[in-house]
């Protein structure tokens, strides 16, 4: 079992000091949520993203799956051990799916967030989605339909 401090030591990514450095970071092959982002095993869902798969090697600096902005924290995907692959899904109009991740056998990936810490990802193929809510239309920013808006933390 890996600890938070082990994972931190391998990546250039700051998490809040109040997170417990001894906290276990399990590397799971199932469905996992990290705040407003969810990692779904591709075989669980019917989603065109799984058909395209992930082919871009994740660089050492990681990939900002959800980029940071004032008041919003980024979710950054790292290859934790061995090569891992990523593909951003460009969907017009935008939906919940933001991309696909492939972790080959023998590799591990982590998704990092300043407040949530790390989510360990075991070998497998996954789709990453964001979270939405049902709300009044306030403008094109963050809205995926007239009554649905992406949320962020």
């Amino acid at each position: 079992m890996q600890r938070l401090s082990d994972v931190i030591s391998r990546h250039d990514f700051g998490v809040l000091g109040e997170l417990d450095p001894e906290a276990a970071i399990p590397f799971l092959g199932g469905q996992q949520a990290q705040g407003d982002v969810i990692i779904i095993p591709a075989k669980m869902i019917r989603d065109s993203t799984r058909l395209f798969g992930a082919s871009d090697p994740i660089p050492a600096a990681g990939v900002a799956v959800v980029p940071a902005a004032p008041g919003r924290h980024e979710h950054r995907l790292f290859a934790d051990r061995g090569p891992c692959y990523w593909a951003r899904q460009i969907v017009v109009p935008p939906g919940l799916t933001i991309g696909a991740v492939t972790v080959p056998a023998g590799s591990l990936a982590v998704l990092a967030h300043e407040q949530h810490g790390f989510t360990g990802i075991a070998p497998g193929a996954y789709v990453i989605r964001r979270q939405r809510e049902y709300t009044e239309y306030t403008g094109p920013d963050e809205h995926i339909s007239r009554r649905q808006r992406l949320i962020y933390d």
């Binding site: 669980m44 869902i45 009044e136 949320i151 962020y152």
Partner: protein, 446 residues
Amino acid sequence: MPAMISELSPSQWAQVARLREEWITTAASCGAADREAAEAAISSIYRSVGRPPPRFVWFDGPATPSLVCMLQRLVRHPVFPGTGRPIAAVIRESAWFSRGLEPSLARALSNALGPDLRRALGRVILGAATGRWRAGPLMDVLGDWLSDQGDDVPPGEPGVAAGGSLPDGSLGGPLEESLLGYVPRWVEDCLEVAAGGVAGEILGAYPMWQLAIPEISLRYPARDISRGARFDGQFDADWIAFFDIPRQLGLVSYPESTSAWLDDWVTLARSCGWWWPYENVCIVSGRPSILRTDSALQLHNADGPAMAFGDGLAIYCWHGRVVPAWVIEEPTTERIFYESNVEIRRCAIESRGWEAFIGDLPGVPATAPDPGNPGQQLRLYELPPRGSGWWYHVRLLVCANGTPEADGSRHLFGIFVPRHITDPVGAAAWTYGLTKKQYLRLERRA
């Protein structure tokens, strides 16, 4: 030099605690800047890098300097792209200046910067210096000092606290963290607000800027501006204290010139706010007029701005998070419902009070265990039907963060879901576009 820092005596620990309190007071102090002391210290720093002392331009807060620093990047574009209108006219007309900031900037620009604006602001002499200065001779000295303590002390984490703890337990953890580790967050947050407000007001009115000048990032105005040299004055207290406290305790003796250099920084921390050094001019911000924190020393004020400056910049914070003013001033249930940022919404609900907020909601929530989040419940509230507003069509799902806070508590979040969903797990599943059956397979929530 002492053999092992962990052998600090109880009286030395008491001294550390006292010095720590002094430095926290310094970092959090309000009131007028000591301009004379600050100018002397900055002049000394200029001389130490082989430059004559600059002229000084003082501002009452960081908002105006942030704008000035942004403008220096734009002087290549004396007219606004697409409009042909002079930058000065646009600035004058922006709403931000109508709030009383124009005189200070105009005076400063005409009197102090004047014809030198392009030359002085265009060349940022210390652009690359920040890292070098912070990790320069002082760090080398401290690194040597640390390496004398044994090979197992990691750099940047002095062994001061490793082998002992304060008798009264008031200073736990590594010294670096215990001292003032929270300060840099203030700095970035405040400048982000300052520059974000400026950029938003000006650039927001002229969105073509975004296209015409790609190096200006609307999303990161503060980071963009601060890419040049910026030092934080009293908010540099964390690292200055880090080097100063061992010196005051006699645990380390720096070379004389290095020690004198540190003295300049100590003086700055005690006399001014942020400062932006340029070739001939140094822009300096005054200290805050208000600065309030919670018991964890995070910026926080439930009754007004947590930080304010003489130039009118006011920053509202809820336990360290920068929030819009209404979150503190008027956190009504209606405003909370209209807020799109769940973090700000959470702060607003806490500001309003969860009990009061939920008290506005009718009925008893439907509850269910939160998948992947052991011990936590999902709660689905029906919202009060008021008129024909959109919220008539939603329910509020209240869920707990997967990661506990330092005190073991959980942050609660409220997310709106369509009213036709009556099952809490089904509601949570909907937010990710999943079915209830799929969502029940969630293994872990971080």
